[in-house]
Symmetry: C2
Subunit: 419 residues, 2 copies
């Protein structure tokens, strides 16, 4: 294990039966696992979470995509279409605090594991569902993935250049962004349940979740009366200069530094001028106020560009940042992956997986008493079959072997079963 990491036990003792797949659901249950909950993925014995199988032609290899969203979880393979498999999962649900799923609309109900059915088994269950569109939405029955949520939730309309079609943010806001809002609500529900024993039903639509991240766009529209557009690297509908990216040496696709001078702090502009050796402009009446600087945006940007083009983005960020002006280099995935600081601080950690080479991946970024929650590798398909059935249901090795023989559960790895 690398960096400053620690096993967090905030949610110790919380048991989650996890039917989630791909990313929106798994990102949520993974957050709870990082905080100490016991998360048991219920997976199809043949292929498992389809997130394990997204690389064409490599059906046997869990991709990085899967590792990212399933760290610290356990895997139990059960054939939900067999009566015994369904009965087994119902026994687990009786022992659980949380049941979560994000299957296509109607699927979990057809399996006989809808909210009413699970609540009848376990009245204190917290039953959480992520769907593409919210309950009672006109689109409730439609399929959705991340990009559909970003399109229908407004996010694409405010992203990209003003003279081009909408762009999709390269981050999975529709998936992980939604998963995080469910995680907040879920732990809130657990907080209440710890005192009262009461459960509840939680539902979120990915489209609806996007509105939560779109509030700047709605407040700009409320102020101006106009649709909030897209504006490249700048903020749409906000009249500030400088606020944007400026080209740096050596001119690669991400060689830019973001520079921002807040309207609330007139010192930013003065400090920036000093960094750039342009003290001559400090008392220049043409640039004396935020309003004047905005009116002369093209001139302000040329002044900055004339300086940044002689520096790398790293130099520019350091010089401007140390002077007390908000500035940031545009960093790419490789630069971030190779930056040792993240690993030293536990923000990225190395996963040690039995079948895969060590791989450094982002961990939970919030530090608890100075350390990040420790990454444990994603589970192999069915890795915890024996362990979960023994600890949750007190089953014996013989009865577990019998279930496996009947095909109700998947392969049980004997050495693991002895753990």
């Amino acid at each position: 294990m690398s960096g400053k990491s620690v096993e967090v036990k905030f949610l110790e003792g919380v048991r989650i039966v996890d039917f989630t797949q791909f990313e929106a659901g798994p990102s949520c249950t993974e957050a709870l696992a990082w905080l100490g909950a016991e998360v048991v993925k219920i997976e199809n014995p043949k292929v498992g979470d389809p997130g394990r199988r997204i690389i064409p032609g490599k059906p046997e290899t869990d991709p990085y995509y899967f590792h990212m969203f399933n760290a610290n979880k356990k895997s139990l393979t059960v054939d939900l279409k067999s009566p015994k498999g369904l009965a087994l999962v119902k026994e687990l649900l009786k022992k659980a605090d949380v049941c979560m799923e994000n299957m296509a609309p109607g699927t979990i109900d057809r399996l006989g594991l809808g909210y009413e059915a699970v609540k009848a088994l376990n009245p204190g269950i917290i039953y959480a569902q992520v769907k593409g569109f919210g309950a009672a939405s006109p689109f409730e029955k439609y399929l959705a993935f991340d990009m559909i949520a970003q399109a229908t939730g407004g996010v694409m309309s405010v992203t990209g250049d003003a003279d081009r079609p909408p762009a999709k943010p390269g981050i999975a806001l529709g998936d992980t962004g939604t998963g995080m809002l469910m995680a907040i609500t879920l732990i809130g529900a657990l907080y209440k349940k710890r005192a009262t024993g009461e459960g509840c039903r939680l539902q979120v639509g990915m489209q609806d979740a996007m509105l939560h991240y779109m509030r700047i766009g709605f407040s700009s529209q409320a102020r101006t009366g106009k649709v909030t557009g897209r504006n490249g690297a700048k903020m749409a509908g906000i009249n500030i200069a400088p606020s944007g990216i400026y080209p740096c040496k050596p001119g690669g696709p991400n060689d830019y530094v973001y520079v921002f001078c807040s309207r609330a702090n007139p010192e930013h502009w003065t400090r920036l001028l000093k960094v750039m050796g342009r003290e001559d402009l400090i008392d220049d009446p043409r640039y004396a106020t935020p309003q004047l600087r905005f009116e002369r945006t093209a001139e302000v940007e040329e002044i900055i560009r004339a300086w940044t083009q002689h520096h790398t983005k790293h130099e520019a960020m350091k010089l401007i940042g140390e002077a007390g002006v908000p500035a940031g280099a545009v960093l790419d995935t490789m630069e971030l992956q190779n930056d040792a600081s993240f690993e030293e601080r536990g923000i990225m950690q190395v996963m040690h997986h039995p079948k895969h080479g060590p791989y450094k991946m982002p961990a939970w970024p919030v530090q608890i008493d100075g350390a990040s929650p420790r990454v444990k590798p994603s589970p192999m398909l069915g890795e915890h079959n024996a362990q979960v059935l023994e600890t949750w249901l007190s089953m014996t090795p013989a009865s577990i072997a019998a279930l496996q023989g009947e095909g109700v559960i998947g392969q049980v790895d004997v050495p693991k079963a002895a753990e």
Copy 2:
């Protein structure tokens, strides 16, 4: 109050002393307020949270920006630079479960309210901090706003068109995206504290938080060995066709529909062809597999464009979505604001503020037993001065009036004090 909304009491009894400002911090404490925590904003008696003052020339009017991130909170105005004001806040901290702040690096310590000081007053405190850069980061002392986090956290490098400079997603991922990760951790810490009484220190850097949302970019890079780039409306580094936006009538800047055919479900392509009246292509060997369709992306896209251009984005979404293919219209802020479905479902709610006209704004999007947490309007500056001091510290109206007379706290509205 509009739509399906309910007063949620998950975090009932949780007391939060909230020093946050602008968005990253306030979005976090607001989420806790929506779930039932009592959140008391400590504000400067003269101007309050600088988020109240972002509109130049309108110093007396709280902007929509402020309302969005401070719903359901209380406001207490205290002069932290007066010894009596500082002492008053320390008394409140003794009664609190959580203390949260996101001031510039070092500011809270200079006020005498750093972690060690607050922990000495209240050993069980959960002390939460959001900064631009993480503790021990090389950039720890630098200022940051949302866009600086999006630049340095990789988000901009994967957003925009491949032949253009990086774009900033129009959503405030650096702010609200970070606030949500802190909210998850904070409620997790409260869950433990409810059982053990123990507190802890929580810290997150906005740059670090971005990596959590960038995991698709890191997994693509791990698979390909190459930096993950940007790819307009498509997913960078993922070889799927169709997966993108297609132009619709009448050709406005957001008249596009996103269409996606998953590699995992061959039916998507067949269903799409039927919707478009192109049954002739169902058995066409040129498009028989996901790999072949990706190799013929230009042809596939032309086939879809030839159909979408005869439909509005709403028609196209409905026809394709009802056929069981993931599809979504690119909706803009005005279309979302005016869509009655959100209000009917409680996803957007109307804020009734004493000084501002009714305004429909996004509420917490996760539904709890079928309803969203009810939006209460953001507090007026100092609105809860008397109420908080009476209920938290059992102060009398006379002693509160004396504090106001000395300028230790701001204006106390007498009718409100009698509430």
